[in-house]
């Protein structure tokens, strides 16, 4: 779980150095995790094996939605892949990853299936995005606008982070 302070700190840094913010989304995130425990599953309709229609179950190798191991398996898969791109997990917040190189610094924030990329050179983004999309099924959402119910607007003087639509939804729910 990413801490709110970390998100605000990264946004403040991006505003300070005028770094661009990029948002990525991982599709079907929980299907990427690899299971280490033995999990069995009855044959679901339309996936019944022809050779063994009954008395047999599936032995899952990768995680599925609804498994309690799914979140952990995904997180493990992702965090073990990132070091190969030169990213290091922060000691203070395990969902913050930093890549230092002679070209500059790149920061990656992970919240389940949403990823924020920011850093000193936007040219560094493309290689990371290419490497990530080779490993996972990825959508590049372009510049960051919406994240965790936050709206990010770019002003000449910096960044404005608001929760206007979140409040509107909440007010709608209570009929105000």
């Amino acid at each position: 779980m990413v801490k709110p302070t970390t998100v605000r700190l990264v946004l403040a840094l991006a505003a300070h150095f005028n770094w661009s913010l990029r948002q990525l989304h991982v599709k079907n995130v929980f299907l990427h995790g690899i299971l280490h425990e033995e999990v069995y599953m009855t044959q679901p309709p339309s996936f019944v094996s022809k050779a063994h229609p009954s008395d047999f179950v599936y032995w899952l190798k990768k995680s599925l939605y609804g498994l309690k191991q799914a979140l952990r398996a995904w997180n493990e898969r992702f965090t073990s892949f990132l070091p190969s791109l030169g990213f290091q997990a922060s000691l203070a917040d395990s969902s913050l990853f930093v890549q230092h190189s002679s070209h500059g610094t790149l920061i990656l924030l992970l919240y389940v299936d949403d990823i924020i990329l920011t850093g000193s050179h936007s040219s560094l983004f493309s290689s990371v995005i290419a490497a990530l999309s080779q490993e996972f099924d990825l959508t590049d959402l372009g510049p960051l606008h919406h994240f965790l119910g936050l709206q990010i607007s770019y002003l000449p003087s910096g960044l404005l982070v608001s929760q206007t639509s979140y409040i509107t939804d909440l007010l709608d729910r209570v009929d105000l």
């Binding site: 403040a12 709206q151 982070v161 608001s162 979140y166 409040i167």
Partner: protein, 238 residues
């Protein structure tokens, strides 16, 4: 209620009110529901307020405050802490302290320790991103005895039970990892996190929160509602 708590992600101005209302969740009464409705109405009129980040010198500054024995029900103190990175507020908390303090110094000192711990964590985070601060973080505190306690090895018998917090903050001050400075109560930005304020002070602090609006017109409306918002806090605590 959880939805309101999530709103404090950008809206520091409601952190205290939400924290107060949350304490009655297990057994809400009509007055609490009225209070929550008031928060919602306040939000409706200040829909477009958000956090404003802009470039400024990179320096960590914090405000630490406590409202000693502020809760009439159990006389626990509320501590508020507010951390600025440059001019951008990045971390804040309004929290009821676990133990009952017998003096305001004790309450303030506990708040100081909580803020110091938060600052240490943020420094580690910055260190991981390879951002070095030129100056040690600075805490503003409006209680002179708490400040002198942080830099002086005087140890009164009354402060004995505060030992852990005491040593934690003092060690950091001695190592030069932390500076503690006095700030007058009127410039105490964390005030808004610890107690219900009068309208004028609430507005004054709101402007310090770097709450910017995407639609400047709306800010005018904000003022009318601040009054009821204060009244709301009164209602909850009574």
């Amino acid at each position: 209620m959880g939805a309101l708590q999530y709103l404090t992600f950008t809206r520091r101005d409601i952190a205290f009110s939400v924290n107060q209302a949350c304490q009655f969740m297990h057994n809400p009464m009509v007055s609490h529901v009225v209070a929550v409705k008031r928060i919602l109405r306040y939000l409706k009129s200040t829909l477009h307020l958000g956090l404003h980040f802009h470039p400024s010198p990179l320096h960590l500054q914090a405000y630490s405050d406590a409202d000693w024995a502020g809760d009439p029900n159990d006389r626990r103190s509320v501590s508020g802490s507010l951390v600025y990175f440059g001019s951008s507020p990045i971390s804040w908390a309004s929290k009821k302290q676990h133990t009952i303090s017998r003096s305001s110094t004790e309450a303030e000192y506990r708040a100081l320790a909580i803020t110091a711990a938060e600052l240490a964590w943020i420094r580690q985070l910055l260190c991981d991103i390879h951002i070095l601060l030129l100056l040690p973080p600075l805490i503003h505190c409006d209680n002179i005895s708490a400040i002198s306690l942080a830099s002086n090895p005087v140890f009164h018998s009354r402060m004995k039970h505060l030992q852990i917090d005491y040593n934690f903050v003092r060690e950091r001050v001695i190592m030069g990892d932390l500076l503690v400075q006095h700030v007058s109560s009127s410039d105490q930005f964390a005030d808004i996190l610890t107690k219900d304020l009068f309208i004028s002070l609430f507005q004054h602090h709101c402007s310090n929160l770097m709450l910017g609006s995407s639609q400047p017109v709306i800010e005018g409306a904000c003022k009318d509602i601040n009054g009821p918002d204060d009244a709301k806090c009164q209602k909850i605590s009574n």
